[in-house]
């Protein structure tokens, strides 16, 4: 992990393709094995939202001080339009870590593979990740990457800036924030408080379409598969039934419904 102080920053952003968390809960299905969410027509694949915030954080640093942004994604299968989105937003390169073995990793395995890929990339100053993935909501892999690489880790940032060889970030707290800093190379996880990610431009989409990702398998990374054995095993995955039997208040028109709602809540002594 050589750090280049002489050139612009090398930023790596880790992103994950996930089932759309905005899809209605009723569209989700559990697959037959009872251990994962099944592909379902009502649930499309998207880039994890917090990862888009991380891409935006990287682009803001690049806008301010220059830099090169490499996007890193891990999985067994990818939708090109999903994983290429960061390129269309303005990132420079895409590295896909693709292997059948990567289909069933826990946070430990995920962090291990990503840290090996980072070692192979070699020269980087800053690693940015979303604060958590909206599928398993683990918020663990970024901490693991930093642990395995022995680099500083700052979580849940709403602002990330670099100043010489130092990263300065605002870490979201309940009722405020904390300003922290660390020597680079360092890892920072980004939260939605950073602000909305930019839209891809037409030109960006066309450039992204032409770019060929670099693809590395487990063998390319020299990963011993025994090290990827799950430390956390899924016994059961289920969709809780939520139906509170909503009492729908229906008046003559919307205004009347509003009035009747207030009366009904008073009846229940709720107001």
């Amino acid at each position: 992990m050589a750090v280049r102080r002489d050139a612009v920053a090398n930023i790596i952003v880790c992103v994950k393709q996930v089932p759309d968390p905005e899809a209605p809960p009723s569209a989700f299905r559990i697959d037959d094995g009872g251990k994962r969410i099944a592909d379902s027509p009502g649930v499309s694949s998207v880039l994890n939202g917090f990862d888009e915030n991380a891409v935006e954080a990287a682009l803001r640093i690049k806008d301010a001080a220059g830099g090169r942004i490499t996007v890193l994604s891990l999985g067994s299968a990818f939708a090109a339009d999903v994983v290429k989105k960061p390129l269309s937003m303005g990132a420079d390169d895409l590295v896909l870590l693709q292997d059948e073995t990567f289909d069933d990793l826990d946070s430990y395995g995920t962090a291990l593979v990503l840290s090996e890929a980072l070692k192979r990339i070699g020269e980087f100053d800053l690693v940015l990740c979303g604060r958590q993935a909206s599928d398993w909501d683990n918020a663990q892999a970024p901490l693991g990457i930093a642990e395995l690489l022995g680099i500083p880790c700052i979580t849940v940032a709403q602002k990330v800036e670099i100043n010489g060889g130092v990263v300065v970030a605002e870490r979201v707290l309940s009722g405020g924030y904390e300003v922290v800093e660390a020597d680079m190379p360092a890892l920072v996880t980004v939260s939605n408080e950073l602000g909305e990610p930019r839209y891809p431009t037409l030109r960006g989409i066309m450039t992204a379409g032409r770019k060929q990702p670099t693809v590395w398998s487990a063998d390319d990374l020299g990963i011993d598969r025994a090290r990827l054995e799950r430390r956390i095993r899924i016994m059961d995955l289920f969709l809780p039934v939520r139906d509170r039997q909503c009492e729908v208040i229906q008046g003559e028109d919307d205004a009347d419904s509003g009035r009747l709602l207030a009366l009904r809540l008073r009846e229940e002594k709720l107001i």
């Binding site: 663990q140 309940s174 660390a182 939605n192 016994m235 995955l237 419904s257 709720l270």
Partner: protein, 329 residues
């Protein structure tokens, strides 16, 4: 011998509520329960753990543990785990625990179950089974651990009913032990610069008995003035969905949901909120939910007790007028 070790948190010389949650969860697992307290100065804290019902209190006092550096806490807790060898390590999903727990697990080469709402010793093996919401709460997973210890579980605050666990809250004869840890300044990789508190006149969301929230369906910041007025009439606080915060209509301190505030009001009134799982994760503790939304198929109507399917801009003014009359009478 300690079976379950709880990472106790404290602030301002007082044991934090999460510590009682963890001890209750630990009692549910069974065996000998210990709590570990870490800090620069633990004077008076040890005595406060007696009523919580632990078998043993470990104290780790070191000048470098003042100031809640995650790097220092991880190193200290790793050293404590190697010494005490608990089968189970419990932490709270707090700003500290959610980072310290996974880092200690990675360092010890074991797994961690993040954001768990229930924990039990499972079946014949006695390995821990943790239940955790995933996919933003759309699904629930039961997970268990490989053969290595400790089994690290990070518990969602407020998930454990403290009174429901036998033994929890009972004064148990306890022993105390101070553990020496080796720490030095080189362990600190992330440096604290300053903490900035946003002063707010607003009523706090946590603890409010009535909360009124707006979402994407409001289509702009202006309607929040009406929600403020409604909250004022009901003696409640105003919140928002993440979409409304991300759009810049209100500050992110309004955000309710998985990564925002968690609320447990008696009455939760939502306006223009579809009820995505990530939002519901922050308000599932609400006793009654009221929904005003124009989409009859919106998920919020599956979670609400009372609802109006209609245009909020017509429903809300007459609702408020009626509320105004009712609260005056």
């Amino acid at each position: 011998m300690v079976d379950v070790l709880a990472f106790g948190e404290h602030a301002g010389g007082k044991i934090a509520p999460i510590t009682a949650d963890l001890i209750a969860a630990a009692r549910g697992v069974g065996g000998r329960v210990a709590v570990v307290l870490m800090g620069g100065d633990l004077t008076g804290l040890e005595a406060q753990t007696a009523p919580l019902g632990v078998d043993k209190v470990y104290t780790v006092q070191h000048p470098l543990l003042a100031g809640e550096s995650v790097d220092m806490l991880v190193s200290a807790l790793e050293q404590v785990c190697r010494r005490v060898q608990p089968r189970v390590l419990l932490l709270g999903k707090t700003a500290i625990g959610r980072d310290v727990g996974p880092c200690v697990a990675f360092r010890l080469g074991v797994g961690a179950a993040q954001d768990s709402v229930a924990v039990e010793a499972g079946g014949q093996t006695g390995r821990i089974v943790a239940t955790r919401p995933v996919y933003g709460g759309t699904a629930m997973a039961k997970v268990t651990f490989g053969s290595s210890n400790p089994q690290v579980v990070i518990m969602r605050p407020g998930a454990v009913e403290r009174g429901s666990v036998p033994g929890a809250g009972e004064g148990v004869a306890e022993e105390a032990e101070a553990i020496e840890v080796e720490l030095d300044e080189s362990i600190r990789k992330v440096r604290h610069v300053e903490t900035v508190r946003k002063e707010s006149e607003r009523m706090r969301l946590d603890g409010a008995s009535v909360v009124v929230s707006g979402g994407r369906g409001l289509r702009g910041p202006e309607p929040f003035a009406m929600l403020e007025e409604l909250a004022g009439l009901l003696g409640g606080a105003v919140g928002a969905s993440r979409a409304a915060c991300d759009a810049g209509w209100v500050d992110h301190s309004y955000q309710i949901g998985l990564t925002g505030a968690t609320i447990r009001p008696d009455l939760y009134v939502t306006v223009g909120i579809s009820g995505a799982s990530q939002h519901m994760a922050g308000c599932s503790g609400a006793k009654r939910i009221v929904a005003i939304n124009k989409d009859a198929d919106a998920n919020i109507f599956k979670e609400a007790s009372f609802g109006v399917v209609g245009d909020w801009s017509k429903v809300l003014p007459s609702f408020m007028e009626a509320v105004r009359d009712l609260v005056r009478s």
